[in-house]
C-alpha cells in the first residue's frame, strides 16, 4: 500500500512520518503505530527468536513436565510520579504481574531495578518502595531481586523503574494473541480510560480538575478466578498504552480475524467521557493499567462475565463485541447510532484538539 522502505505491520499507518526523524520523538513511546514501527525496524530484526516473534506480553522460554516458564519485562516512566489512585511503584509491580498473568500463569517473583536522579527526595523514594511492597503483598508475588543506580541531575525524570518477572503456566492453557477464533466473545473487565485521564489531569498542563482515579492494580487474582472457572480461554491482554483499540488491533492482526465491537456496550466512566469530549479524545485510545481483555468461546460468555463481576477489579465487566473471520486483521465499531466505522491503531501521540 505504501512504497516506503519501512516495514509496515498492517494497513493503518501513522501521521508522523518516521522516516524523516533521525531522533526519537515522544510519539515513539506512545504505544501506537510509531512504537510498533520502531520495534519492527530496529529491535525485532536484531533480537530475532521464536519467543519474541510471538508478540505477546510474556515470552515462553522453557517447557518442563507439567507446564512452562514465561518471563516478562517492563519499564515505568510515568509523570507525575504520584497520581490519583496510585504511583510509579504500584504501576511497576502491577505492570509486570499483569503481563505475566496474561499467559494464564501464576507469577512467581519479580525483580526491580531503579534509576534515581541526583536530588530525588528520599521521602518520595520511601513512599514508592512502600507502595511497591503493598502491591506485591496484594498480588502475593514477592520482589526477589533488585538493583539501584544514580544518575546526575537532569539525566532522569526523578525516578525510572524497570521490572521483570517469571511465571509458571501449567499445561492445559493455550492463551495468546494468535488464539482468537471466529465466533468468540470479547469481554473487558471494567471501565476504559481511567488511568490516562487521571495522569493527564494530575500533570496539570491543561488546567483540569477531576476526581477520576487511575485503575492501576494487579489482576492476577481476577484472572485466576476465570481460569478456575474454565481453562478454555483464548486471549488475555491488558489494554495499556494505545488503549483498547490499539490492543484489539494487535490481536486481530495476530489471530488473522476481524473483531466487531458494539459502542453501546463499552463501559466508560462518565468523567472520562466528559474529559474526552472536552479534549477531543477517544476513550478507546486512552491508557489503562488495571483492565484485561478476555476473548473466550461464546458458550463461556455468561459464566465468565458472572465470575468477573463477582471479583475485585471486575465489577464493571462487560461483553463488548465478538470475533468474525472478516475483515481479517481489522477492528470495526458499530456506533451508538447504528453506523459502522473502522477502529484503527493509534498513530503517534493523542493530542488535545481545537478543531
Amino acid at each position: 500500500m505504501n512504497d516506503s522502505p519501512l516495514p509496515i505491520i498492517q494497513g493503518p499507518v501513522c501521521p508522523l512520518p518516521i522516516k524523516t526523524y533521525d531522533r526519537i520523538v515522544i510519539g515513539h513511546g506512545s504505544g501506537g503505530q510509531m512504537t510498533r514501527d520502531l520495534i519492527c525496524q530496529y529491535f525485532l530484526p536484531n533480537f530475532s527468536n521464536p519467543s519474541l516473534s510471538e508478540g505477546n506480553d510474556f515470552a515462553n522460554i522453557e517447557s518442563r513436565p507439567g507446564g512452562r516458564i514465561v518471563v516478562s519485562t517492563d519499564a515505568h516512566i510515568v509523570s507525575p510520579i504520584f497520581f490519583p489512585g496510585g504511583d510509579i511503584g504500584r504501576l511497576a509491580v502491577s505492570g509486570t504481574v499483569n503481563d505475566l498473568s496474561m499467559s494464564g500463569g501464576i507469577p512467581l517473583g519479580l525483580t526491580a531495578s531503579f534509576i534515581l536522579e541526583e536530588g530525588f527526595a528520599i521521602s518520595s523514594l520511601e513512599k514508592i518502595i512502600r507502595s511497591m511492597a503493598d502491591t506485591a503483598l496484594e498480588a502475593g508475588v514477592p520482589i526477589v531481586a533488585g538493583d539501584t543506580k544514580v544518575v546526575e541531575k537532569g539525566k532522569a525524570d526523578g525516578i525510572f523503574i524497570s521490572t521483570s518477572g517469571v511465571a509458571w503456566v501449567p499445561d492445559g492453557l493455550q492463551i495468546g494473541g494468535a488464539c482468537a477464533q471466529p465466533g468468540d466473545a470479547v469481554l473487558i473487565s471494567g471501565t476504559l480510560g481511567d488511568h490516562g485521564i487521571a495522569v493527564l489531569s494530575a500533570r496539570g498542563e491543561l488546567g483540569l480538575e477531576t476526581e477520576i482515579k487511575s485503575d492501576v492494580a494487579p489482576l492476577n487474582h481476577l484472572i485466576q478466578s476465570i481460569i478456575q472457572q474454565t481453562k478454555d480461554i483464548h486471549v488475555l491482554r491488558d489494554p495499556t498504552r494505545g488503549g483498547l483499540a490499539t490492543t484489539l488491533n494487535e490481536i486481530a492482526e495476530q489471530s488473522q480475524v476481524g473483531i466487531i465491537l458494539q459502542e453501546k456496550g463499552i463501559p466508560v466512566h462518565p468523567i472520562v467521557h466528559s474529559t474526552c469530549d472536552m479534549l477531543g479524545f477517544d476513550p478507546l485510545y486512552v491508557a489503562n493499567e488495571g483492565k484485561v481483555i478476555i476473548i473466550v468461546p461464546s458458550d463461556n460468555t455468561d459464566a465468565v462475565l458472572k465470575t468477573l463481576r463477582s471479583q475485585k477489579y471486575g465489577e464493571n465487566a462487560a461483553v463488548i463485541g465478538h470475533v468474525e473471520e472478516q475483515p481479517s486483521g481489522r477492528v470495526l465499531l458499530k456506533t451508538g447510532i447504528g453506523g459502522t466505522r473502522l477502529l484503527d491503531v493509534m498513530s503517534g501521540e493523542m493530542l488535545p484538539r481545537i478543531c
Partner: protein, 368 residues
C-alpha cells in the same frame, strides 16, 4: 441535562433518518464546512446512514489543514530559538512544514508546550519573564475571541514577553470561493455552528441570495447534524433557498456581541493564503497596528522561508468538495497519514485523514 448525550440518542436519530428518507426525492450535494463536523460524521458513521441521494462533501473548515505552509515554517523557525517557549493547540504539533514539524523541533531541544487555551499561554509568559512566549494563534472565528482576549489579558498584566503568531481565517470568503468556482457542485451548506455562535448568521443571507443556496446553521452531535441535513433537504426539495438555524440552543442571528467587539478591537481584515486552496483576498484576520508588539511575525525576524508542497496532492479540490479522497491517485499509496503529501491528510480533522481512519475499509471493498 448535560446537553450532550440527549443529542446522541439512537431512537431520535432513527426518527430524523426516517423523516429524511421520506423527504428526499432528488439527489443533492451538501457541504459541511467545519472539520469538527466532518470528524463527527465519520466518527458516528452518519454518512452511511443517509439515503444514497444525499452526497456529503467536506469543506475547508479545518484551521490546521488550511494554515499556510509558510506560516508553519515560520512557527518552526521561531520555536527552534533558544529563548522561546512556543505554545500551541495540540493538533498543530503534527503538521509538517517544509522540513519537520513541532515534534521534531521539540526533539531537537526546542521548548514546545501544548496548551488548552491561549489564556494558559499568557500565564506561562507571566511565570517565565525571562523567556519569550509565543502562542500559535490559529483558528476560524470561533477561536478569535479567545486569541484576542489573550492579547488584552497580556496587555492588562503589562507583559512584554508575550506574542501571538496569527493564522486566522474566516468562513464567508471561503464559501464565496467555493460557490463562485466554475467547478462547484455544492447545492446546500451546513454552516459551522460554533463559528455562528460567535458571529451570528446574518452574514449568510447575502451568500444564500447570491448563489441561490440554502444554508443551515448546524451543530456537532449526531442529532444536530441530521437535523441540519434534514432542514437543508427540505429547503432544497421545496426550491426555497434561505438561511435557517438548526442549532438554536447556542446560536442567535446576531451572534455574541461582546465577543465580536473583542475581535474588532484587536484584529483587522487581511488577505490569507489557504493551504491547498490558494490565495483568498480579505479572508483572514491579523493584529491591528496598535497591537503590533504582540505580533510574533513582527517581533521575530523570520527570513528565507522556502516552502515546498507536493505536486501530486489535490487537497485543494478535496477542500472544495470537488473530489473525494479516494479519487486522488495518491490516496493510500504515496499519501498516507504517515507520509502526508498535503493539508487534508495532515490534520486529524482533515478530510483525507478522516477517510483514511474511518472509511477506508468500505472504500477498499467498493473499489476492489
Amino acid at each position: 441535562m448535560r446537553y450532550l448525550e440527549e443529542f446522541r440518542d439512537a431512537e431520535l436519530v432513527q426518527n430524523i433518518l426516517s423523516k429524511i428518507n421520506r423527504t428526499v426525492k432528488h439527489p443533492w450535494v451538501i457541504m459541511e464546512i467545519c472539520g469538527g463536523q466532518t470528524h463527527s460524521i465519520m466518527q458516528h458513521g452518519i454518512d452511511q446512514l443517509l439515503p444514497a441521494e444525499i452526497e456529503l462533501v467536506h469543506g475547508p473548515g479545518c484551521p490546521v489543514c488550511v494554515t499556510s505552509l509558510e506560516l508553519v515554517d515560520k512557527a518552526l523557525s521561531i520555536a527552534s530559538r533558544p529563548n522561546v517557549i512556543f505554545c500551541s493547540f495540540g493538533d498543530m504539533l503534527r503538521v509538517p512544514g517544509s522540513q519537520g514539524d513541532l515534534f521534531s523541533v521539540k526533539a531537537a531541544g526546542g521548548h514546545v508546550r501544548i496548551v488548552y487555551s491561549p489564556l494558559d499561554a499568557v500565564k506561562i509568559a507571566q511565570q517565565n519573564p525571562d523567556k519569550e512566549v509565543v502562542f500559535f494563534a490559529i483558528g476560524f472565528e470561533t477561536t478569535a475571541p479567545a486569541n484576542a482576549m489573550s492579547v488584552l489579558y497580556a496587555q492588562s498584566l503589562g507583559l512584554r514577553n508575550y506574542s501571538i503568531l496569527v493564522s486566522h481565517v474566516t468562513v464567508p470568503p471561503a464559501m464565496h470561493a467555493i460557490l463562485g468556482s466554475s467547478t462547484n457542485r455544492v447545492q446546500g451548506f451546513l454552516a459551522a455552528g460554533h463559528v455562528c455562535s460567535v458571529m451570528g448568521y446574518h452574514q449568510y443571507h447575502s451568500i444564500s441570495q447570491k448563489y441561490n443556496i440554502p444554508i443551515v446553521v448546524t451543530g456537532f452531535e449526531p442529532l444536530d447534524l441530521l437535523n441540519g441535513i434534514l432542514m437543508t433537504v427540505e429547503l432544497l426539495e421545496a426550491g426555497t433557498p434561505k438561511v435557517q438555524n438548526a442549532y438554536s440552543r447556542v446560536v442567535s442571528e446576531a451572534g455574541n456581541i461582546p465577543a465580536q467587539a473583542m475581535i474588532k478591537r484587536v484584529f483587522q481584515d487581511c488577505d490569507r493564503n489557504w493551504r491547498g486552496i490558494g490565495f483568498i483576498p480579505q479572508s483572514g484576520w491579523e493584529l491591528r497596528p496598535e497591537y503590533s508588539r504582540f505580533d510574533a511575525e513582527k517581533r521575530f525576524e523570520v527570513e528565507n522561508i522556502q516552502t515546498r508542497e507536493s505536486e501530486i496532492c489535490i487537497s485543494g479540490q478535496i477542500l472544495q468538495g470537488i473530489k473525494k479522497p479516494y479519487q486522488c491517485p495518491a490516496f493510500g499509496k504515496m499519501c498516507t497519514p504517515q507520509n502526508p503529501l498535503g493539508a487534508t491528510m495532515v490534520s486529524s480533522e482533515g478530510t483525507c485523514a478522516a477517510y483514511y481512519r474511518y472509511a477506508r475499509l468500505e472504500m477498499e471493498e467498493h473499489h476492489e
